[in-house]
Symmetry: C2
Subunit: 240 residues, 2 copies
DNA sequence: CCTACCGATCGGTAGG
DNA sequence: CCTACCGATCGGTAGG
């Protein structure tokens, strides 16, 4: 007799799950071909259904784009909060945030982080997204001002600094190839290191000149020793 | 009797000029609303003609996008060549290239530098553009390897370094507001300074914390003195 | 350089 | 979740 009671949340979970898959698939397509360059028919075909079926989960194409942006902001906020709770100097918090942001973006479902074409949304949706993004950027800027105050970051303009780092990070989606020589975590480490150097009050004179040398399981000392050590021509690449 | 002879080049010049205006207008629209989000009717309206008139100057919308990309690459190549001929260390050449690239991009007709949606072009056009862009990036990378060799740049991965700086630069189009607090040259100076710091073998411990302080006519010493000096709340902004 | 039109494709809906 | 369809808009062309 309890069957009816259980059936409701199960069905609802199914619905939510499908909706989430739709959003990720849409975001990937919007990223690849642009909002106007992607038809709902294409998205539906990838999901094995017809266009009409999509309207069970979203009321319009525009709203689908809005959901994509909103999901991306959920992730961004999580990353900033985790970086904040990790503690340490301003520079450490910033570096941590940048690295996990990049790892996420270059990871499996990273393509769903939509960044462009906010103008395609209707004004109310656009304002909501821009507001959330401003909060994200403000959190990153606070790491910079923290760092300037605690001496870990060189005095600079926080606004410009954050524009610089987010630009460098977001651009990675344009050139990153999952089947290339470098893995996501390797690029995340090496790129973050370069950006950290531009802001650190005590910039390292040792940089990772081959991202392929980085191993997620390696500790900092071993890695830095590898940088100066002689090594084989192709170095160590794509560690499991 | 010479009238006829002169009329031909004049007409041809008129044609070329109009074509150029069309390309810039199209590039600005493509940048704003995307390739698929921009109709030829919109572009035509901005130029005060009808859509059909555009076909006198370009054979198709796709070809118009190709011309946009190609013009942008012309400018990029010019900038790199000028930076090369200026001489100096690898770091100096790189910094010079980045700064003029940014000044151009934030300048009056800068919006015509199209960067995205290469996939909208047919394969042959896409290949041609990607080839030219690779040459541009290779030139920038050579500045980095020059710099590592002459000791002005810290040992690093040139490919990653150029991806980082181009990302930071290209992203500026997303946030730059011509009517904002900072002028194009001011941002170009301050942002380039930050990027230079990430690669320099002797990173400055003095950064321009307010881009508004920068005056194109100011020499380096006066500027750096202004950075440490006390100043009025709003600093000096938007010098003529 | 314009008016008038074409075939194709789009987002969205009706009805089941 | 599908078939079948709608009005609107697109890129491109004919003919002048």
């Amino acid at each position: 007799m309890a069957t009816w009671k259980n059936a409701v949340p199960e069905a609802s979970a199914q619905f939510d799950r499908k909706r989430e898959v739709l959003i990720r698939e849409a975001a990937a397509s919007f990223n690849r071909r642009g909002y106007y360059g992607t038809s709902l028919t294409e998205i539906a075909k990838k999901l094995g259904v017809t266009k009409a079926a999509l309207y069970t989960y979203v009321p319009s194409k525009e709203e689908l784009l809005y959901y994509c942006h909103d999901s991306a902001m959920d992730t961004a906020v999580e990353i900033v909060e985790a970086a904040q709770q990790g503690g340490g100097t301003g520079l450490q918090k910033l570096t941590r945030a940048l690295r996990s942001y990049l790892e996420m973006m270059l990871g499996e479902d990273g393509s769903y982080v939509v960044l462009l074409e906010e103008h395609a949304m209707k004004p109310a949706h656009m304002k909501a997204i821009i507001k959330r993004r401003d909060q994200f950027e403000a959190a990153l800027r606070s790491f910079v001002t923290d760092g300037i105050a605690d001496g870990s970051i060189v005095p600079c303009n926080p606004k410009l600094a954050i524009f610089m780092v987010t630009g460098a990070l977001n651009w990675s989606r344009k050139w990153y190839r999952p089947d290339g020589n470098w893995s996501g975590p390797q690029i995340a480490y090496a790129l973050t290191q370069m950006l950290e150097r531009s802001l650190s009050s005590s910039p390292s004179d040792q940089m990772l000149d081959d991202p392929g040398l980085f191993d997620p399981d390696m500790d900092e000392e071993t890695l830095m020793a590898a940088v100066v050590e002689p090594r084989t021509a192709e170095g160590r690449r794509r560690p499991a």
